[in-house]
């Protein structure tokens, strides 16, 4: 039967080994050659868009790359699906946008802020999501057609 010191060794050893592997895999994933996010396309506008996204807690309702709230639509390829003009109109609307009665906060964004959001969402739409963006409808537009 396992002794207490063997149990401790199992705990400490297991933790150390898996943690080192985790660090190794993190470095591997972050290597520029393994980038799937078109990192070079992150412009000042995209960064600004990300900041607006965060400071308004858009993730509290919407999901992006499958992460966030489940109250409002996934926005990963929203520019592709709905077009920039509509998205811009929603962001600038003075009254709450309410599709099917579910209300969004009326942000009344400036032109500049709304453009930054669109650039951010465009950049998100180009990331390789290992199939999530190709297989899962309604993100996968081609699948919608057949």
């Amino acid at each position: 039967m396992l002794s207490k010191s063997q149990a401790r060794t199992f705990f400490l050893g297991g933790t150390l080994v898996t943690f080192l592997i985790f660090i190794g895999l993190t470095i591997y994933s972050m290597a520029p050659s393994n980038d799937q996010s078109n990192h070079q396309n992150i412009t000042e506008q995209v960064i600004k868009g990300k900041h607006i996204w965060e400071t308004n807690n858009c993730m509290g309702c919407h999901a992006i790359m499958g992460e966030g709230g489940y109250y409002a639509p996934e926005l990963t390829k929203v520019i592709d699906r709905r077009g920039a003009p509509l998205v811009k109109a929603i962001l600038q609307s003075p009254i709450p946008w309410a599709p099917n009665g579910r209300k969004m906060v009326a942000y009344e964004m400036s032109d500049e802020d709304a453009e930054a959001m669109i650039e951010y969402l465009k950049w998100i739409g180009e990331i390789d999501l290992n199939g999530f963006d190709r297989i899962v409808s309604p993100l996968a537009k081609d699948k919608l057609k057949d």
Binding site: L2, L25, M59, G60, M65, R102, P138
Partner: protein, 451 residues
């Protein structure tokens, strides 16, 4: 209660009760919004309610863990806390930071990163607060007469939880890197180091409630936390499948996530086995219910329901749907809420000196909240599966699919009412215990009947 400073725990537990009640209120706001009753939209829109609901959970559970540590560490180290005054300072500052954050959310002051919405300025205060807490605990532990495995595992969990908060404070330009390191905090907390804290509390309670030899319990504690880390650290990969990082995580995350239920299975088997093996007939049955309940429900909620959607092939469809909400509710309830309610149930008679632990109300609170929560989870689960089918298999528009699952939220709200009634009774009982008394000191801790 053997040490006067253990009384500090009472005030942490009281704050827990307050924040938990508030968390439930915000849960109801979200539930009603989902069935089209969002009259509060102008004051509390859904994203505010959600941030408050999830952040209150984190804050009150951490408050509970801290209270548990202030109760357990003196007893394990066999000495008083090094400073009771500082512990109160820490409690008050924690409450202030929590209230400031929650209030800020209502005025669009936040950093909208799911679960880590606290704005950066307040993050620094959190760090100072946690350092103060750890200082008190570590100093007490190392000045103590003994350092038990239970105390060490729990403290290690608290130290790592603090360290892992830091990667969440780095600023990244890329949403992908941001998400990647956000999970270092969120996943490695709830599926890693928090389990150390839970394991520590569980071991302490089992030693006290079952009377099984400490050596036996602590040996298994090592095995369980070993399994937790072995599977949980690389299991972080299940959050990395579809967020724009390398495909290697599909394999690593898939394999190690599949192993994650093992740790919870071990925990459930361990608790039940120790209970059966125990020769002590402890009079605090309510604490025993919550303790064994935590071990079993965490296996179902965190282990099995987690496994149900962490395989990459399944997660491809369930990622970012109500299925996640279903798993999240039962996992948090079983693993963390129940263990905090267990330690509170155990500590209250000892802190206040009033043996109100075998009342009908206590049992009612346990069963109503458990059945209510199970009902909520089933309702969310059905809604989630329907959503996946309609939206992701049949390409139905998101909002149309949401209309279809509305009815499940009516069921969920009914179950939530039952749940809230149970928790209401628990809080009522907590209040009925009254304040800590010094008479509770020096008394023999519990009357132990040997069967």
């Amino acid at each position: 209660m053997k040490y006067k400073s253990q009384q500090v725990a009472y005030w942490f537990f009281a704050l827990c009760m307050l924040l938990f009640a508030l968390q439930i209120v915000y849960g109801f706001i979200m539930g009603f919004a989902r069935i089209g009753m969002d009259g509060l939209h102008d004051w509390i829109p859904f994203n505010t309610a959600r941030a408050v609901h999830t952040n209150l959970l984190v804050v009150w559970l951490l408050t509970g863990f801290m209270g548990a540590a202030y109760y357990i560490i003196p007893e394990e180290a066999q000495r008083e806390l090094v400073s009771v005054k500082l512990a109160y300072v820490q409690l008050i500052s924690l409450a202030v930071v929590g209230v400031a954050a929650i209030t800020g959310y209502h005025f669009n002051i936040w950093e909208g990163r799911k679960f880590l919405e606290i704005p950066r300025e307040l993050d620094y205060l959190v760090v100072v607060n946690v350092l103060l807490f750890l200082g008190i605990i570590l100093a007490t532990l190392f000045k103590g007469k003994r350092q038990t495995t239970t105390a060490l595992v729990m403290t290690m969990g608290l130290v790592f939880a603090a360290l892992l908060y830091l990667p969440g404070m780095i600023w990244f330009d890329s949403q992908v890197t941001d998400s990647f390191f956000r999970w270092w905090v969120v996943h490695l907390w709830v599926e890693g180091v928090w389990e150390l804290i839970m394991g520590g509390i569980l071991a302490f309670l089992l030693i006290k409630l079952t009377g099984v030899d400490r050596e036996v319990i602590e040996k298994w504690l090592y095995v369980i936390v070993g399994l937790t880390f072995l599977s949980g650290i690389l299991g972080t990969g299940h959050h990395y499948y579809y967020i724009g990082v390398n495909k290697i995580w599909l394999v690593v995350g898939g394999v190690f996530s599949a192993l994650e239920p093992l740790a919870f299975l071990a925990m459930a088997l361990f608790a039940v086995y120790m209970y059966r093996k125990g020769e002590k007939n402890h009079p605090n049955k309510i604490a025993l219910f919550w303790t064994i309940g935590a071990a079993i429900v965490s296996f179902i909620g965190a282990g099995l329901l987690g496994f149900a959607h962490t395989l990459p092939q399944t997660n491809l469809y369930t990622h970012g749907t109500l299925v996640t909400a279903m798993h999240g509710h039962y996992a948090f309830w079983g693993a963390y809420v129940m263990i905090v309610l267990a330690i509170i149930s155990y500590a209250m008679p000892n802190i206040t000196g009033r043996k109100r632990h075998d009342k009908t109300n206590g049992h009612l609170a346990f069963w109503l909240s458990n059945i209510g929560m199970l009902g909520m989870v089933v309702a969310l689960g059905v809604a989630g599966v329907v959503q996946v089918y309609l939206e992701r298999r049949l390409s139905m528009d998101f909002m149309i699919a949401q209309e279809e699952v509305k009815i499940h939220f009516v069921v969920m709200l009914l179950c939530a009412t039952m749940f809230a009634t149970g928790i209401g009774i628990y809080i009522y009982e907590f209040i009925k215990y009254g304040r800590p008394t010094n008479e509770a000191l020096s008394k023999k801790e519990e009357t132990v009947l040997v069967s």
